[in-house]
């Protein structure tokens, strides 16, 4: 039996075109070698939302019968290669389709490969990725994570680099020549083919041993089934909320117990409480009700609710008071205000370092203006 399944885990809408380009090209390349394949998005992820993790699959088989055997299932139960196009999802993903966190490598077969686009090194990624009982290979494509939108695609060759790497780490799929031919036939220029070839040439793997990596048990929630639901299909409302951290002062809304936005974020705000002028704008304009009001009238971004949109940063009138930084720099969801209360000088130091780092490696979240992507690609090539 030689069926090969590949999954692409991506940020909804932002990386939808990227994921589609990858799974389609896999099928086209397989056809060059007389194989048969199919590419599809997971039904449960539709309708996609900006930033919420989603999946697309490509399945390649020697003949139609083998392919049908795999497709008789709703989606592949295990894959030879997992492609993760945003490294912040290495911490695990929570999609539309389920409640609770799933490890990024959940479907990766024993000795399968996880391909990640990232500027981080292997060790810091392995720290985030959940442990498995079986070994798997990690292959990193050193590049800025590629984000665009629904209509305009940022063609920074991330798709070609991933496909080139895929040919190297999963040679049973097809040869690089078939892939280059398929890319050429889809109307990709020579520079893009060169990107694929180069990625193929330089691809490396690092084996992750059983027991290596993040030891945390992914959280999950039990919800009522159809036989145990309340009469009239009533769903309990959220509570009214109350004082900050259960106290008498400030305010903290009640938050949904079964859906946390941890994995929806690829960035999160850090707040300089010392320059905050308490203008209320971040709190008022947050679509996710994310800001708790502290007893001293400041606004503490609660990471249970934050989906990392960056509106707070955009509306804040004070320079560098709210700054969106990469989610990859965090290992927990603790309160920044509490950390600041505990030790103000070291909080300021920690925050300033993060803000400076963000300025050095700007991570963007989609379309800014016509021609913006060309500027971004030129800037990242210079870097």
């Amino acid at each position: 039996m030689s069926t090969v399944a590949v999954e692409v885990v991506y940020r909804g809408i932002f990386q939808r075109t990227l994921a589609r380009n990858i799974v389609r090209s896999i099928v086209f390349a397989a056809r060059k070698e007389g194989k048969i394949g199919t590419a599809f998005g997971r039904y449960g992820d539709s309708p996609e939302r900006n930033g919420i993790p989603a999946k697309q699959f490509a399945v390649v088989a020697d003949d139609a019968e083998e392919l049908e055997e795999v497709l008789a299932r709703y989606e592949p139960t295990e894959v030879d290669v997992t492609i993760n196009v945003d490294d912040t999802m290495c911490k695990g993903i929570e999609s539309w389709a389920w409640y609770g966190l799933q490890p990024i490598n959940q479907l990766t077969k024993p000795n399968g490969t996880l391909i990640v686009t990232s500027r981080q090194d292997a060790d810091s990624l392995v720290e985030d990725i959940h442990q498995k009982d079986t070994p798997f290979d990690l292959s990193i494509i050193k590049s800025t994570v590629s984000f665009s939108g629904l209509w305009v695609y940022k063609d920074d060759h991330t798709d070609a680099r991933i496909l080139g790497t895929l040919c190297n780490v999963c040679p049973q799929l097809f040869s690089i020549d078939s892939m280059l031919q398929a890319l050429d036939e889809q109307g990709n220029g020579e520079t893009k083919l060169a990107s694929a070839q180069k990625a193929y040439d330089v691809a490396t793997i690092r084996t992750v041993e059983p027991g290596e990596g993040n030891s945390e048990v992914p959280y999950k929630f039990e919800l009522l089934g159809w036989q145990t639901m309340e009469e009239g299909l009533v769903i309990r409302a959220q509570g009214k909320g109350g004082g900050f951290r259960g106290g008498d002062e400030g305010f903290q809304p009640d938050r949904n117990e079964v859906f946390k936005k941890y994995s929806t974020r690829s960035m999160r705000p850090v707040i300089n409480f010392e320059t905050c002028i308490k203008c209320t704008l971040c709190w008022l304009q947050c679509p996710d009700t994310c800001f708790d009001i502290t007893p001293d009238g400041l606004y503490d971004a609660n990471m249970e609710s934050c989906c990392g949109c960056g509106v707070c940063e955009a509306v804040c009138p004070v320079p560098d008071c709210v700054t969106m930084v990469s989610e990859a720099d965090f290992n927990d969801n603790s309160s920044q205000w509490e950390a600041w209360q505990e030790d103000k000088p070291s909080y300021q130091q920690w925050m300033t370092a993060l803000v400076d780092k963000q300025k050095a490696e700007t991570r963007t979240h989609g379309f800014h203006h016509v021609g913006g992507y060309t500027e971004e690609i030129a800037a990242s090539e210079d870097a």
Binding site: G12, I13, S46, P47, E48, R49, N50, G51, I52, W96, Y99, G149, L150, W151, V152, L223, L224, M229, I235, R236, A237, Q238, K240, G241, F251, P253, D254, R255, N256, V258, F259, K260, T264, C279, T280, L281, L284, Q285, C286, P287, D288, T289, C290, I293, E304, S305, C309, G310, V311, E313, A314, V315, M324, T364, H365, G366, F367, H368, H369, V370
Partner: protein
Amino acid sequence: MTTVQDLPQIKGVKNIPISEGYTSGHRTCQGCESALVMRLMIKAAGQRTIVVGSTGCMYVANTTYYSTPWVVPWMHTQLGSSGSAATGTAAGLASMMRKGKMHKEPINVIAFCGDGGGADMGLAAISAALQHDEYNLLILMYDNESYANTDIQASGSTPYGANTTFSPPGKETRIMNKRWKKNTAPMLAVGHPDVKFVATANGSYGLDFNNKIRRALTIGGPTFIHSIDPCPKGWDYDPKFSHELGMLIVETGLWVQYEIIEGELTLNGPSRAIARGIRKRKPVEEYLMRQGRFAHFTKEDIKIFQDRVDESWEKWWLPGVIPVTMGQD
């Protein structure tokens, strides 16, 4: 007519209520302005409110399996029936109270619908609701200019030339959606002379938004608010610009902020300053070129757009509101 709640106008952004009626647990997009609109709506209305929502993003994304972000009672209704559901809820409450089955107290009834559910499918039901002037209710139409939930199909509210699943720009024909945006709020105001409050609103102007909701809920009878909600998914922009685009659409004069209180029109905020000549309209290009859905526009397309906006301010009988010009006599 039943009594209304005491919801005074809010003076100053610092006096906006801190209580929340819509919290976390929704799987909307990053930077979803419609989620903000839901939150602001219930902030202004308070906890003694029943919300009825027709199908759309604010139904689907807010009701993943057995979970809800709502603090107040909420119920789903079908796509085109926000008007009938609002009337039915208000009538039901009135009847229960009359029969003594419920404690007598004013309860706000708000029905929301998207532009697909309101401006397209539910228009007749909304019109019917606005004629039942014995019931106090508010219909809020959150307009993200497409059927955004099902992946951006064009609606009657989609602007000229925008890229949608139904109107993808091609090599031969660049502009596929040739319709101008439906002018929903004035249509309902003009068509229902007994309605005491019709307004346009915008989540980027939070205080104004809160006060319009309160005015609608306290003036008595059925009321209608049309809110414009930038949509990072369908308009294709970095989610952090939701607030900024909400302001730009007003500053370019493409969207006009106003309220019609008992037949009297008042322009609000930047729209008022533009009408009085205190503030110049920004070129509409600044707004268009920030969104991927207009990325295919050429200079000529932008000019067509700008000319239409200019015309609405310079020639319309009520600038930006009613597309009628005075005849010769």
